[in-house]
Symmetry: C2
Subunit: 737 residues, 2 copies
Amino acid sequence: MNSLFYAVPCASLVALLFAFIFYRQMKKQDEGTPTMRQIAQYVREGAMAYLKQQYKVVVIVFAIMAVFFAILAYVFHVQNPWVPFAFLTGGFFSGLAGFIGMKTATFASGRTANAARRSLNAGLKVAFRSGAVMGLTVVGLGLLDIALWYILLNAFIVEATEAQKLVVITTTMLTFGMGASTQALFARVGGGIYTKAADVGADIVGKVESDLPEDDPRNPATIADNVGDNVGDVAGMGADLYESYCGSILSTMALGASAFYMAGPEMQTKAILAPMLIAAVGVVLSVVSIFTVRTKEGAGMAQLLKSMSFGTNLAAILSGVATFGILALVFGTGNNDWWHFSCSVVSGLIAGVVIGKATEYYTSHSYKPTQKLAEASKTGPATVIINGVGLGMISTAIPVIAIVVAIVLAYLFAIGFDVQNMMTATNLSKGLYGVAIAAVGMLSTLGITLATDAYGPIADNAGGNAQMSELEPEVRERTDVLDALGNTTAATGKGFAIGSAALTALALLASYIEEIKIALERAGAMVSGVAGQVKAAEASILDILNNYNVSLMNPTVLAGVFIGSMMAFLFCGLTMNAVGRAASKMVVEVRRQFREIKGILTGEGTPDYKRCVEISTKAAQHEMLGPSLLAIIVPVVVGLVLGVAGVLGLLIGGLGAGFVLAVFMSNSGGAWDNAKKFVEEGHFGGKNSDCHHATVVGDTVGDPFKDTSGPSLNILIKLMSMVSIVMAGLTASFHLL
Amino acid sequence: MNSLFYAVPCASLVALLFAFIFYRQMKKQDEGTPTMRQIAQYVREGAMAYLKQQYKVVVIVFAIMAVFFAILAYVFHVQNPWVPFAFLTGGFFSGLAGFIGMKTATFASGRTANAARRSLNAGLKVAFRSGAVMGLTVVGLGLLDIALWYILLNAFIVEATEAQKLVVITTTMLTFGMGASTQALFARVGGGIYTKAADVGADIVGKVESDLPEDDPRNPATIADNVGDNVGDVAGMGADLYESYCGSILSTMALGASAFYMAGPEMQTKAILAPMLIAAVGVVLSVVSIFTVRTKEGAGMAQLLKSMSFGTNLAAILSGVATFGILALVFGTGNNDWWHFSCSVVSGLIAGVVIGKATEYYTSHSYKPTQKLAEASKTGPATVIINGVGLGMISTAIPVIAIVVAIVLAYLFAIGFDVQNMMTATNLSKGLYGVAIAAVGMLSTLGITLATDAYGPIADNAGGNAQMSELEPEVRERTDVLDALGNTTAATGKGFAIGSAALTALALLASYIEEIKIALERAGAMVSGVAGQVKAAEASILDILNNYNVSLMNPTVLAGVFIGSMMAFLFCGLTMNAVGRAASKMVVEVRRQFREIKGILTGEGTPDYKRCVEISTKAAQHEMLGPSLLAIIVPVVVGLVLGVAGVLGLLIGGLGAGFVLAVFMSNSGGAWDNAKKFVEEGHFGGKNSDCHHATVVGDTVGDPFKDTSGPSLNILIKLMSMVSIVMAGLTASFHLL
């Protein structure tokens, strides 16, 4: 094993070490008054109860699936024998990352509120460093899982040649991504439903019907709402990005091993190491940048945003520069590969920044689009919805162009702009490797970007705690500043999550073809390649595509594209409806409490918070299964009926429509949220005006858009690829058409 | 020329003759009281004024484009010299069909109201027969244009071989579809914006703010609203389906000529005749079936629906049966082609019926989904929107599965279920011909299906007229029954329009590749085919795909897919926002009139209807240009930058996402509309309850969903293909990547 590799487990340990340090620092902070402790305790209990419930369901699903994979592997021999284990560890680490992140967040929010009593800077520091625990845990556990499997498989897998062995190792590792994907889906969907059922329910009865402010302790759904922020926005998002992070690294490794198969094991090893090392260095740069985020007392929103942006931009720029160094070290400077691939990485980084900025432009009320959306409230809720949908749809243009340019440039850089021979077998592999490594570049600084993202719900919860504990108004004002900042970073983070998911999914698409090749190889099959029959082991991506007639005019491909596009919508629709149903239950319950428990609205009676937490928990459990299983089953069925060409169509259709739909839903939701905030700041009549009520309707509709359905799509597009990859053996050996 | 061909112009004349007869019959009816005449006159004037304005803009755009095509053809020689003329006639006939349909509709609605004073049956007869004028005009003019060009080009085009000549004739004719598409886009988008600006504006101020009933004469926007039904739902939809109708026939002809190129001109001629004859016989069957639609006095909604369903189902079944006869006649019964292709046609017919039924299930308040949506109003407008979006997204599943099954079956039938050799060059051409002819089957009975569709707005306007003329309440009740029926048939018609658009677009996709081949041929180029270099003239579809590396993993294809998906959303977003903006202007104006013109609300003052008509007209003109030009320009730019592979990706991405998005938007909109009606019928508190207000918000949001953005997508996906086809010469001779 190349000695550079050991940087990877080391970086992983560095990340986990700092996560632990930040965690300890946070725990040492005072949690405040008895009321504050009490409320934090409620939220913590609710969150843990939910997670326990969710993991119970997930464990059952995982057990069934692992047994299924084991049967495929050991009875029917159409599956790699390591898959059941890889699948389980992927799920385990993903769940662990979510658990740690959430545990931290629920300890941190009360402490953030308490620190905010001292000063804004103190509040920021607690919240942000706690967010960093999440960020660093995700990347630390991700790299740890990757490093462990790499060592393990290197020791155990035996193949005829070293080149072969590297291909088998990397494609095997890829399948642990499926475990991570599956667990991420449940976390995102379940968490998303939970949080929005509570939020929508609390808003409708509390804000719209009873004119209570946000987080008012008289609102029975308010604890559930705060729990929701933790299980949805912290645990759910952590699992999502854990999966993107690992997925991008793993698929780049797999593509590297196959792209340079002919060049021999030395070059393969370099190509395998490159993504791991870029990620490893990114971890260290993230830690460094986290320390730069601080602000002076008396700083406003602009100052705070600048401080955070400085941190993330610093990490991104350093990471871009470092990539040139790393790749020069790995590939040597004897030929142009090092800077070609580095430029691919930079394409990905720039696309990430552009998508983030575009998201900010369309969703922040510092800019025209959201201000105009707020103005539409003058003509009532209907025009707010119409304009918000329009805004979200229009906002898809820039992210799509950014991704398209990044894909094409990453590909062209990787093949040294050899436009005349873009699609030779060698260049295709190399180009796709370039696209994959661009995704790694985009995610290399995840440690800090995820910190800015996880910070949001912590600040949000801190505000809730301050409100419910009836602290001095200036505390709530401070947490409001922190929270508003969190909204902006969350929007940027969402753009980032979607962009990286798209690039990762593309890399997985290429990996799928590799996996089909391995399956054919295992069966000793011949492939009818572009230039005639070849052995599967020697087949290029083009040969495999040719073998299955994966032409754009193949009806199975077209059928797949339609089904893929539909899947994105169907999945969204199911999750939207799930939120609608769950929120209705919550509304009914809150209304009941207002009616039956005397003196709630005057503050004399205590609402039954627990009942609301239970409703959300139960609804989320109940509702998450359907959409999740659909995402797992459809790719398998399409594979069995329409074959490899159909699956590729499915994945491409799902990726295209899913990406755009996700951007639309996230941005519409974000814009509605901030349009409401804009009105609340005093425009168009301010709080409690007709305009305000109209924007609250928009905000309520936007909740499941931006926090349930939209983000779940990221996982859907990756999971469908992962399922296809893991089931490649089955598809290759049996399909109807 | 084969003598069977003459059946085509004959059928066209039959259609136009009956259209004329029905028109005369309608005109003979009495238009009612002076007030009724007055109101009908207002609406007629407004509609004509709008159409005049619109055609002015369209003429300018057409002139510019025709000059551009002429330059490409005569200066740069990268364009077929007939294109500018074909383009212009396509646009002219499409506009003419819209004009006649709308003229009829505006004469018919007052007369329908008046007839409804006598009896329900009388009202139905006037409205439905007037709708039939539209249906028959569209198919009559469509077949006429096709027949004339076929005769003309047969006389003038000279090629080396007869086989070659047929290919050139049919691909040339295809380009008149672009004229039809372009005019259709303007009609749909402009009309859609017009109608919904007026409708939304009228609803927001009238229904929500002032509690006026629909079509109340005190509402200043009410005439504009009624004009909108005519320019959007009649003229816009007519142009849309004219385009689908011609597009499906033309692309099948083109595919027929190329699929059987090697089999020689005799077989080619058969394949060219088949779609024309299926359409011709469909026209006659439509006329026959139209006469079966009648009902007894005292009939309720169920009876009426049965009567209409009987007519359309009769036409569909007869058409399916007749197809076997026609194709046996054309292809002979010597081999299996006749029944193979007939089965393909039947697949298309069945898919059409399934999509229609699914649409009805999801949007009619006789079924659970819409009833549950209505129930969501108990928790306010936000949950109505959330559930409606969810419902629409879920409703995409069945139509997609129906289309996918139809595509795969039509293909497999056409190649005689030769699954082992699905993708040989011969089978691919034959299979795609099968898919194309399935679209023809779906649209063959357009004469009657469009009649049931155009009938809706006529009945709707009749209701408006009755209300504004303050006729006896039972008249309004009768027109309400007619109108409610119209909502159901409109929903079915929309499903039908979308389904046929998808199949047509697929056929156009295949035609695009043919067109590229012709362009290469004209340039005398060689093609690097699947099995080495071949002359362009002898290249198969697979060879052309191979020549341009149209692999699914080609980054330009992937880039195209992303851009195509994005286009669907961007286009929708732009039209949604256009409606939002235009509606806001309308709201401001109506509020102004309520404030400034004394006694409007007490019925003592007369509102300034004209001002509202002007606002809608101006806004529609102003707003339609942007999205329309985008749809024309983007395929050209993608072709120039990303080349043929990129264009194919664009078209497939646009088709997949566009189809699903269109179904979603239409069904959400339809369900919101009917959920409101369900509440109005007395459920959940009935009219003017909180639930009712919540559903009105849903209905208002649904208006642009179902009548502007959703239906415009049908045209977008076809137009992008058409533009690509027409620009194939340019793309083939120049592209960056």
